[in-house]
Amino acid sequence: MAIQRIETIEKISDEDLSLMAKNIFGTNDIEHPGVKNFTSLGNTLISGSIKVLNYSYFPSDFPNTFATAEEIRKKLSDSGWTKVVAFQTRNPMHRAHEELCKMALERLSADGVLIHMTLGKLKEGDIPGDIRDAAIRKMVEIYFPNNTAIISGFGFDMLYAGPREALLHATFRQNCGCSHLIVGRDHAGVGDYYEPFAAQEIFDNEIVKKSLKIEIFAADHTAFSKKLNKVVMMRDVDDHSKDDFVLLSGTKVREMLSNGEDLPAEFARKEVADILKSYYQSLK
């Protein structure tokens, strides 16, 4: 699928790989899934430029969603947008995410939001890309004003590198033409390896500020507040405790939908939940 002009073939020692892991992941703990993967790829580096023949299975499996950076730029431009905020998601979007996108749009006075899904090989418990796509499209169709949201996707696995990965995600979206990326709590994190807002703070780093043009929209968790009867960002409501929010774990959501139950309207839009519900029921 690609041809490479080989420049060098080098051996890289386990020590060097471990050092790289420490720098990139902040740890060389082999229990960290990203480190584990990174240090299992072998000890040979082949450097050099490549040219690629095709986009593999992405266009055929995700015909309306997969897009190249060039195609996204064209879509954004055709929509008349200049200031664009990107939202990355590997899950279906419920009201908390819907509101987060709208908050970013409003607070940044952006022209639109690029909802950028990660496509690709499924892991245990993942909802298939086409179902997620349908659910997100339904949400945008009904609940977003015309011409404020564009949906697209690409294939890039989670590396769980926290702050460094947030930088990479931001770079991808800058290449797509986005001026901002929503970065929430523990972005691209896993377990307790990263401080909750480290992935936001890294964007204040001098080197990053000098080179990356894209900025972040620093977000916190969002959830429906029973007190205020709307979705809020948690850091905006100091006086709330956990019980003041409508919160459902992923497991609970899956369980309810599999049993054919409706999700609370404060948590999910019915039209979105119905799509997921029929998927879960089809598994039985």
């Binding site: 699928m1 690609a2 041809i3 490479q4 060098t8 890289i12 060097d16 790289m20 720098n23 990139i24 990174f38 790829l41 072998g42 580096l45 082949i46 450097s47 050099g48 430029s49 490549i50 040219k51 690629v52 023949l53 095709n54 986009y55 593999s56 992405f58 190249t68 950076a69 060039e70 730029r73 954004l76 431009s77 008349g80 947008w81 200049t82 690709g120 090989k121 690409f154 294939g155 890039f156 696995d157 590396l159 590198a161 460094r164 990965e165 930088l167 990479l168 770079t171 991808f172 800058q174 290449n175 986005c178 001026s179 780093n205 080197i207 990053v208 080179s211 990356l212 043009k213 894209i214």
Partner: protein, 88 residues
Amino acid sequence: MTNLVAPHGSDILKPLIIKDKSEKDNVITQSKKLHQLKLNSAAAANAVMLAAGYFTPLEGYMNKKDALSVSENMVTTMDYSGQFPLLI
């Protein structure tokens, strides 16, 4: 074209996909004589990302010096793609 933010490290996007049909045919012919490496799905997905211009300004895979430097110092802030070893 509206004034969207410029790509990273370059004025223009650098997709690595071969668009020209005759160039594609040449490459396919050439490749039959070359050593072939099978990639895992993550590596293939990364090649697609490179093809689609998401990794601008990268044009391929880094050597050890660059990979180590980028992992340590974020020289271009494309630090993470420093670890792009193609494996045998």
